[in-house]
Amino acid sequence: MEVYGKKVQSRLLLGTAQYPSPAVLKDAITASRTEIITVSLRRETANGSGAGFWDLLKACNCHFLPNTAGCHSVQEAVTTAQMARELFGTDWIKLEVIGHSESLQPDVFGLVEAAKILCADGFKVFPYTTEDLVVGEKLLEAGCEVLMPWGAPIGSGQGLRNPDALRAMRAYFPNIPLIVDAGIGRPSDATRAMELGMDAVLLNTAVAKAGDPVLMAQAMAQAIEAGHNGWVADPMDPRDMAVPSTPILGMAELV
C-alpha cells in the first residue's frame, strides 16, 4: 500500500493508547508487524512532558501518525496538529474533529474546514470521517489523499455497522486509499473490512483491551492479510443452488 508517497507492507495501522504497559505495547507492535503507529497528543503532554513514553515508542522504528484525538473544534484540531508536527517531526496528521462527545462521531463540517487549513499548511492529512460520499469528495477537494471512514463508533468494538456504505465508498473512490478507522472489535471484523476492498485498517482498543494484547495483535495482522488476499483473489459470488464440484455427465462407468 502507498499513502502520501510512502510504501508500506503492513495494512494494519496500530494505536498506542490504553495498553497494560509500554512493554506490552512494544511487543504488540512487533507482533502486529505494523509500520505505522498513531500517537495521541493530549494537551497536558504538549509541552514535551510525555517524552518518557514517546522515547519507548520511538525505539519501535515505526512511522508516527500523530492524531488530534479529543479535539472538538477546528481551532483546537489545527493547533494540536501544529504542536504534533513540531514535537514528532512529521507532517502526517490523523485529523479528528469530534462532533458529539457521547458517540465520538466526527463533525464532518469542522473536519472539512480543518482539512482545508492543514492541507494548505503542508500537512498530509488522514481524516477520520463517516462513510458519506459527499464529505469524502470535499475532503479530497481540500487536499486529502486518503480517507478514513469509521467502521463503528470509536472504541465500541461493534465491527462494521454499515458495510454497504463502505462497499459504495470503495466503488465511488476506486483509486483513493481507504482505511477503516475505529469500531473494529474482532479479527473477523478486520477481515470483513478488507474483503470489502479497504486498503487498510486502523485499530487500537481491540488489541489494547484484549486479554492478551500481543496475541490479538498477531491475530489482527493475520486477519487483515487474509481479508486483503481474499479481495485481491476475486472471490466467487454466493449462489442459491448447490453446484456439485464433480461433473454429473460423463461419469466414469464402473463395471
Binding site: 497494560p20 497536558e44 503532554t45 512532558s49 513514553f53
Partner: protein, 313 residues
C-alpha cells in the same frame, strides 16, 4: 550502617525491614517531613491485588497478597473489601472485569444494599472482592515513619543524601534508564451525608475511577493515568470526570466540599512492574507505579534481604 536516599514510601518500608533485621539505618530526605515529598501522599491506599489484576501482571497479585498484613503491623488497615460497580449501560465493562480477575463474588442490588446501605437502589450488579483492604496513605506514612524511628532509625529531613548511599529510593528523581513518570490526579471530598465503608470502583469505558472512604466524612477520588512528567495541578478535564464519577456513585456528592486537589508522578518501568536493581554501583528500589502501598512491603523485604540477609545481629 545502611544509608538510604529518600524517606518516602519505599525508603521507609525498606528502613522498617532493615531495622527489624537489626541493621543500623539512616534515611536522608530532602522534604521536611514524613512523605512530604512523596507521591504516595496522593495515593488511594488501596490494597487491592485482585482488582489490579484486571490490567496488571500476575506478579502484582503474587507480591501484593500479604501487603495488608504487613501494613497492619504499623497502621490501621480497613479490611472490608472492594465493591466494583458499573452504570447499567456499561454492564459489558463489569463482565470484562470479572473475566480478567479472581477472588470476587457476583452481587446483586440487594447484596450491594446490604454491604453499603448508601448505595441501595443505585446499582443492579457488582463484584465484591471480600479479601481486599485499604488504608489512609498519609496516616500510614506518618505511622511507618514513627515505627522506624522507634526501631532506632535516624531520619534526616531537609537533607540531601550523600553522593554514596547503600540504597536509593528516590522515585522519579532517581533518573534510571527506562524509568518514566505516569501522572495521577486526585481530589479529596468532604461529604458527611454519604457513608461508605469500603473502596468503591466505578467501571467506565473511558475512565475507570475509585472512591476511597477516609475518616471524618472524607473521600479520596482518583484513577487517572497520564503518560506525562508534568506535575502541574489537575486539569479541568480530569476533575470533571472524577467529580462526575463521584456523583454517579451517589448524587449526594453534588453537595460535597472539594477540600483538596492534587497531582503526583508515579515512577514506572516499561513493564509497569517494580525493580530492585544495581545501577552505577548503587542498589535502587524503584518503579512502584500505581502499586506503591501494595508492593512496597514485598520489595522492601527483598531489598533488606539483599543488603543484610535475614539478620545482621
Amino acid at each position: 550502617m545502611i544509608r538510604i536516599a529518600g524517606a518516602g514510601l519505599a525508603g521507609l518500608a525498606c528502613a522498617f525491614e532493615l531495622a527489624q533485621r537489626g541493621a543500623d539505618v539512616i534515611l536522608y530526605e530532602k522534604g521536611d517531613g514524613p512523605g512530604a515529598n512523596s507521591v504516595a501522599r496522593f495515593a488511594g491506599g488501596m490494597l487491592a491485588p485482585y482488582c489490579e489484576r484486571e490490567s496488571a501482571d500476575e506478579d502484582v497479585v503474587r507480591l501484593g497478597g500479604r501487603a495488608a498484613d504487613w501494613w497492619a503491623q504499623v497502621t490501621p488497615v480497613t479490611r472490608r473489601g472492594t465493591l466494583v460497580v458499573a452504570p447499567s449501560r456499561d454492564q459489558a465493562e463489569l463482565t470484562r472485569f470479572a473475566r480478567r480477575t479472581s477472588h470476587f463474588s457476583k452481587v446483586d442490588g440487594q447484596v450491594i444494599a446490604k454491604l453499603e446501605p448508601a448505595l441501595e437502589g443505585r446499582f443492579e450488579r457488582g463484584l465484591f472482592f471480600e479479601e481486599e483492604a485499604h488504608l489512609d496513605p498519609r496516616r500510614a506514612l506518618a505511622d511507618l515513619s514513627n515505627a522506624v524511628q522507634a526501631l532506632g532509625v535516624w531520619i534526616h529531613y531537609g537533607t540531601a543524601a550523600p553522593a554514596k548511599v547503600d540504597l536509593n529510593c528516590t522515585a522519579t528523581a532517581a533518573q534510571l534508564p527506562d524509568l518514566r513518570s505516569v501522572r495521577g490526579e486526585m481530589a479529596i471530598l468532604h461529604c458527611p451525608e454519604v457513608e461508605l465503608s469500603r473502596v468503591v470502583r466505578l467501571l467506565h469505558p473511558r475512565m475507570p475511577l475509585y472512591l476511597v472512604p477516609r475518616a471524618d466524612g472524607l473521600f479520596m477520588i482518583g484513577g487517572t493515568m497520564v503518560e506525562s512528567n508534568s506535575n502541574r495541578p489537575p486539569t479541568l478535564r480530569s476533575l470533571t470526570e472524577m467529580l462526575s464519577a463521584a456523583y454517579t456513585i451517589h448524587p449526594a456528592f453534588a453537595e460535597a466540599s472539594v477540600v483538596e486537589i492534587g497531582a503526583g508522578l508515579r515512577p514506572a518501568f516499561p513493564d509497569n512492574l517494580p525493580r530492585l536493581m544495581e545501577h552505577n554501583g548503587t542498589l535502587h528500589l524503584n518503579g512502584l507505579y500505581r502499586h506503591g502501598f501494595l508492593l512496597a512491603p514485598a520489595l522492601a523485604q527483598q531489598a533488606a534481604h539483599q543488603l543484610v540477609g535475614e539478620t545482621c545481629r
